[in-house]
């Protein structure tokens, strides 16, 4: 038995691969649910109803999917250029704390229509700045950006903790470490009344469309894909590799920073160190499930959010730990890698 490269990738298999991967992940996670002595199918049924059963649940799922779309895009655009940005978690937090800093003080006098775009930009710039550090270390000292961007996540969260314990601490929060709230007019308008769903979802979807157009229709998109497919070849063909990577890093870090900004302005209004339940890391899974396709990111983020939101209710009803959602999406990353492999190879005996 041996593996043989396929002459061409069958379209049906490429389209089906994410679905097969998710089914395989659900089956494997099902073993864990069964091991805990709970009915597997009922558990998955409850996850679905927990995520979409009521109007409120559905809006919660969409609210949760919003930051995942943005961090997913951040990972997808970077990975496509083979820039391993694993620092979206840190960039998310830096974007969030930047918004809290500016939105609660210096800029808080501005009217909403001016303030909101300014804060979006500020959050994105903070995320960009943080991503430029690992890129600079790679270009200047040939340091693998995987480890540096990962390590910076810890630094960024500690920095946020220092800020909300110090200069940005809310004096009215009964001693809890949380930042001062952003001005009321900085809070994002709701998409649907009596829910938490805010216009951030529309921003994320527009971002996905823009990234798609950027990648498929512009010179920069071509250059960034070339940088990922074959860096030496790209340089030989005249692609300015360093400059392309800087642009990719800015876009990727910017999207992750924007995710943090939107989460503050859309959901909480202030920053705590548990603002993100791992949105940055989950973004990597979202990107891979989408096979790095910006439009696929929307669907992959919805799947991931469904698991997370749905698992809450299921957990209460069947006393299965909510971590089953984390396990399932992590498994789906691994099964997706294998599924992508079999679109390129086949087994011959």
């Amino acid at each position: 038995m041996r593996l043989e490269r396929r002459e061409h990738r069958p379209l049906l298999l490429v389209v089906l691969s994410p679905i097969l991967a998710v089914v395989a992940a659900l089956a494997l996670a099902g073993l864990l649910i069964a091991a805990a002595g709970a009915p597997v199918l009922e558990a998955y049924g409850r996850i679905l109803t927990g995520a979409f059963g009521t109007r409120l649940a559905a809006t919660e799922t969409l609210t949760r999917a919003t930051p995942l779309m943005l961090t997913g895009l951040a990972a997808a655009i970077a990975f496509r250029a083979r820039l391993w940005n694993i620092g979206a978690e840190g960039q998310f937090y830096l974007g969030a704390i930047m918004v809290a800093a500016l939105g609660s003080s210096v800029l808080s006098g501005l009217p909403g229509p001016m303030l909101i775009p300014l804060l979006f930009a500020a959050g994105a710039i903070a995320g960009m700045a943080l991503m430029l550090v690992p890129l600079w270390l790679r270009l200047r000292f040939s340091v693998d950006e995987v480890v540096t961007s990962l390590l910076l996540n810890f630094v960024a969260v500690l920095f946020v903790s220092m800020m909300i314990d110090g200069p940005l601490k809310d004096p009215l929060a009964f001693g809890w470490p949380q930042s001062m709230p952003v001005a009321d007019q900085a809070l994002l308008p709701k998409l649907i009344e009596r829910s938490r769903l805010h216009i951030g979802l529309a921003v994320a979807i527009v971002a996905a469309l823009l990234v798609y157009l950027l990648q498929s229709r512009t010179v920069f998109g071509l250059q960034s894909r070339a940088a990922g497919l074959n860096p030496e070849g790209a340089v030989f063909a005249g692609v300015p590799l360093a400059r392309t990577l800087v642009k990719v890093a800015c876009l990727s870090g910017g999207l992750a920073g924007l995710a943090g900004a939107i989460e503050v302005m859309g959901v909480k209004g202030y920053v705590t160190t548990d603002l993100s339940p791992g949105f940055g890391y989950a973004g990597i899974i979202v990107a891979m499930l989408a096979n790095l396709n910006p439009l696929g990111v929307i669907a992959a983020a919805l799947f991931t959010a469904t698991m997370f939101v749905g698992a809450d209710g299921m957990s209460r009803a069947l006393s299965i730990p909510t971590y089953i959602a984390d396990v399932t999406v992590a498994l789906s990353l691994l099964t997706m890698l294998v599924a992508i492999f079999f679109t390129q190879y086949r087994i011959r005996r």
Binding site: L32, P321, V338
Partner: protein, 313 residues
């Protein structure tokens, strides 16, 4: 200035250095072993978490401490097997596979822990490894309490580092390992099977990583809690580069790193007007600085991150 000297001159600091270094020594050696065969294992953070959880859980359910370490090592080897199947047999991206293993192993640890240990206000504990005084040596002034009153896994980690240095440079097995990481095609021509070597190195390396995790719950602390590994795995990956892929230097690097960590912990109590977060950032910033200084000078295994397929170039 005198407070700095006071800190460095206390035996407690040097005892803490060895204690802090132990999980890093295990993890760095594990990552080094894997990378020497040509495969980066970013599953380390999750594998350490899982080792910490499963080792603790075994002891909590009545196993003795060494059985706990063994269970952790076996669980690590299993995750290593998954990583090897995906990166060696299928030749998938080592970066993404490793991150996937980390996310999977850590969430699985939390799932199993929450399922088997009910939520309580105070986390349940086990009786951890006790410090062993080395007869004769532990009575020496200063050096005795500083270096010779550690728990057995700490001594074990140092022995493994020396053993690994010997195996890598002085045995046929070590030669096969280095060949697989430098030039698997040449290794194959010499009758070495790089695929088997890589499987073995990844699994053994992952077992070491998991033992490093188990040290946290069975020696350094006595309970398990989520996120307790705190990026130690990533620091180990940085230490491998700092050590230029040499086991002896890895031991030195882990000790040096632990020295700074132990030092900053004591400095925190002296400089209490500086926010504590600044001190907590130091390990990560130091790791990044070490990478920047060493990355160009380090001798990377030439075939690191290149999948090997027989008959394909």
């Amino acid at each position: 200035m005198s407070t700095f000297l006071d800190i460095v001159a206390s035996a407690g600091l040097w005892a803490a250095v060895l204690r802090i270094a132990t999980p890093l020594v295990f993890g760095t050696l594990g990552a080094l072993l894997s990378e020497r065969s040509g495969v980066l294992n970013l599953g380390i953070e999750g594998i350490m978490t899982f080792g910490a959880m499963i080792g603790w859980l075994a002891v909590f359910n009545g196993a003795d401490l060494w059985t706990g370490m063994l269970v952790a090592a076996l669980s690590g080897a299993l995750f290593g097997l998954v990583h090897a199947a995906m990166t060696v047999t299928l030749g998938l991206s080592q970066h993404v596979t490793g991150l996937g293993i980390t996310l999977f192993a850590s969430s699985l640890s939390y799932y199993i822990f929450r399922l088997t240990v009910p939520l309580a206000s105070t986390p349940p504990t086990v009786t951890p490894f006790q410090p062993i005084s080395v007869p004769g040596l532990s009575d020496l002034p200063f050096i005795g309490p500083a270096l010779f009153t550690q728990t057995l896994p700490t001594y074990l980690s140092i022995v493994i580092a020396l053993l690994l240095a010997y195996v890598v440079y002085r045995t046929p097995l070590g030669l096969a390992l280095r060949m697989s990481g430098e030039n698997p095609h040449a290794a194959e021509a010499q009758g070495v099977d790089p695929i088997k070597v890589r499987y073995g190195a990844i699994m053994a390396g992952s077992a070491l990583m998991a033992m490093g995790g188990a040290f946290l719950t069975l020696s350094a602390f006595n309970s398990f809690f989520p996120t307790m590994v705190q990026g130690r795995g990533w620091i180990c990956i940085a230490l491998v580069v700092f050590a230029s892929w040499r086991p002896g230097r890895a031991l030195f690097g882990a000790l040096l790193f632990a020295f700074f960590d132990a030092f900053q912990l004591r400095l925190q109590t002296v400089l209490d007007n500086v926010p504590y977060q600044i001190f907590l950032m130091m390990p990560y910033i130091l790791s990044i600085a070490a990478l920047a200084v060493m990355a160009r000078r380090a001798r990377v295994p030439q075939a690191l991150m290149q999948p090997y397929r027989r008959g394909e170039r």
